[in-house]
């Protein structure tokens, strides 16, 4: 009896594993041989997965223009990598695969370099037509295949406080302030002036990590070269820079995205001694203005100005891709074209046309906080040039004390290069920042130990990488 049961059980196991193996080996014609083929769509349901409800704004507007389609939207937070860790196995092992997926800059390369995205080379002519910033297209390319496009471009800038600039530098003229923050060294000097003039109650930045992206963007080599972990000299310089910021009390020791970081924007940060402390500048990209500063700093409205970062950088951005196993590849591709390579859509996106009223007129069941205000910086140079004047006298313009954010973004966007962008950037960069943070606080005693701790960490997250 026992034996019989054992046999039954084993054959059951064998059967299930065979079944699962059989499911995993289906070959999809859409990408075989790198040639784009167009299989037929199965239905008119557009299945979209994303990490924010931005995607739902676009999808609803798309459905508004195409009343015969239905939207099936899945939103999963990307906090702690939840979205990526849900999506990658789903694409790899099969299941209810979405047609369209939204990808963030932090993990776009991981997906673009995987075999799970569909080829969209047929959309490349539209890139010239709307004049998309080259780096935006570059980020979604792999082996000559266009696999993702974006509606945004997200160069990084430095937002500073005008009242503090007047107090410590005598003027809040952005061109004058820009001179002070032209190099990392001059930035430290300006930070010292702020510290001395304020008696140590005003800090240049919240933390050294605000500058990390700038240093990372200026490197000669990316983190991984020929499957070997590479630490660029500029990363070593970042350690020195961070150490100076820390030792000389130029940073407030406030982590990005912490409650105190937001309090700092709004000028209500108090230290452990009960004294108010202030933060002079925030290094954020285009979306930092509309999504972060304007939302969280009501009491400092109009007191911000914007200049170029002493170290140019790029941060974030959302790309849209079609999955290899999409059930409706044509509809999905049409959605990507409509959302990212279409001047009408991009202009509407940037100028706040997709308001809550607009979206609820299409689908009354949508929540009352879904909608898109004006101000996001879009990927098409044609649109940027055309609507730049639109932003004069908008909220974003007044928030910046009468500075047009579109102008400075437009100047910076053509210079962004994503040459160093790799799928492992976020994971390795976070470990670097953690190691530097522990070193600054004295948990790690020396730079040698810092490097050892960093290499150990990378060995955990990338076991197949050569690490000397």
């Amino acid at each position: 009896m026992k034996n019989k049961f054992k046999k039954l059980f084993l054959s059951f196991l064998a059967a299930t594993s065979l079944f699962l193996v059989a499911c995993g080996t289906g070959v999809n014609p859409a990408t075989s041989g790198g040639i784009e083929v167009f299989p037929e769509d199965q239905d008119r349901i557009l299945r979209i997965a994303s990490f924010t409800n931005e995607a739902l704004v676009l999808a609803t507007a798309f459905a508004g223009e195409n009343p015969d389609i239905e939207i099936d939207f899945t939103e999963i937070t990307m906090q702690g990598g939840e979205y990526q860790n849900w999506l990658m196995p789903l694409l790899a092992l099969g299941g209810d695969v979405p047609d369209v997926i939204f990808l963030e800059a932090e993990f776009i390369r991981q997906f673009v370099e995987s075999p799970f995205l569909g080829n969209m080379n047929s959309l490349l002519p539209y890139v010239d037509y709307v004049d998309t910033f080259p780096f935006v297209v570059e980020a979604g390319m792999h082996n000559g295949e266009a696999r993702a496009f974006s509606f945004q471009a997200t160069p990084g800038v430095m937002y500073f406080r005008r009242s503090m600039a007047r107090e410590y530098f005598g003027t809040d003229d952005p061109s004058f302030i820009q001179e002070l923050f032209s190099t990392p060294e001059s930035t430290l000097d300006a930070g010292r002036v702020i510290r001395d003039a304020s008696g140590g109650t005003t800090f240049l930045v919240s933390s050294a990590n605000e500058f990390f992206r700038g240093f990372a963007a200026g490197r000669r080599d990316p983190w991984v070269v020929d499957n070997t972990l590479t630490i660029d000299p500029l990363m070593m310089y970042f350690i020195d820079f961070a150490r100076i910021l820390n030792e000389e009390n130029l940073q407030a020791q406030v982590d990005q995205w912490s409650g105190e970081w937001f309090q700092g924007m709004d000028d209500n940060l108090i230290n452990a001694h009960g004294q108010p402390i202030r933060i002079f500048s925030y290094l954020l990209p285009t979306w930092g203005l509309t999504y972060v500063l304007m939302d969280n700093a009501p009491s400092t409205f109009g007191d911000f100005g914007v200049i170029e970062s002493p170290l140019p950088y790029h941060w974030g951005g959302t790309w849209i891709a079609v999955t290899r196993d999409a059930r409706n590849p044509n509809l999905a591709r049409e959605f990507v074209r409509w959302a990212t390579l279409n001047e009408v859509t991009l202009e509407r996106w940037a100028t706040g046309y997709f308001s809550n009223e607009f979206l609820r007129a299409i689908d009354p069941s949508l929540p009352s906080d879904l909608g898109r205000g004006p101000g996001d910086f879009v990927s098409s140079r044609n649109v940027v040039n055309r609507i730049s004047n639109y932003f004069e006298d908008t909220d974003a313009y007044n928030f910046l004390g009468g500075q047009n954010p579109y102008e400075i973004f437009g100047q910076l966007a053509p210079n962004v290069s994503l040459r160093l962008m790799q799928g492992t950037d976020a994971a390795i960069g976070d470990e670097w920042q953690d190691a530097v943070g522990a070193y600054l606080e004295g948990q790690i005693g020396s730079v040698q130990e810092l490097l050892q701790s960093f290499r150990n960490a990378v060995r955990v997250i990338l076991p197949d990488l050569n690490i000397n």
Partner: protein
Amino acid sequence: MNTKNKKLVKDYWGYIFIAPFIIIFIIFALYPIANTFFLSFTNANIIHGMPGNIIGFNNFISLFNDPMFIRALQNTWLLWLGNFIPQMILALVLAAMFSSTTFKLKGTGFFKAIYYLPNLLMPVTVAALFQHYLTLHGPINSFLVGTTGLMSEPRNFLQFATDTRFTVMFIQTWMWFGQTAIVLVSGMTSISPSYYESAMVDGASQTRMFFKITLPLLKPVLLFVLVTSLVGGMQMFDIPLLLSDGPLGPPDMSVLTMNMFMRARMNHPANAIGSAAAVSVILFFISSFVALILFRVFRTDEQKQQKKQRRVETNG
């Protein structure tokens, strides 16, 4: 012949009744476990190849040669012992007071509920709360530096290994002592009061009764608490991950547990399912082995008692 037939029919219905459980168990528990064992011997990788090639014990060998995995193993034990011991002491004291017939505390139900409350909170909330408390400009620093002057300078607690470890242990203790106390109370109240009555007649003190009556008779419940806590502790994940706010438990991997290590291997950028499965298998064997030892320790005691009793009976 007739009787044999009847027997068969009975068996058949029995199988039908247990079938739903067996089927669900096989699909959702047995198959995944068996598959994890299989994957642990392969170099399966989500992006580069599923189900991968069989590479023998290579995953296990490289794990045991990896100082970071050894650190994760040590951290896991340290964090578990560091929360289980105080939690157990606290829970035993509370349970003894709650169930004591001489103290006759009022409102025990209320306190039981209060002590149980932390367990109802989401780990995300708890971690965010403590993270906020412990920042450089946060309430604990302003209390220690500003209000009371106990410290001259604020301390960035979560940037130090010891502080972070201590916080994890504290949170785990705080979240679980109420739950453990309630289980122990139910164990204690099931002990027949006649033992205590006769002990009191003989003039035994509270402490003596606790060590000589309560603890020995509580052994089955203690075993349950110990084993469930062990299994949970070996899989400790959410609080260390969320509190330290990094996949590898910074600063310097001080709160990196085996489960976090496993997930770091499984998730991007490693995507190394084979290696992650090997960590799970090691975790499985450690938990089973230690649980088995615990069962042995507790069972032999019972058997000894039974043997003694039998001897007394036969002699008497």
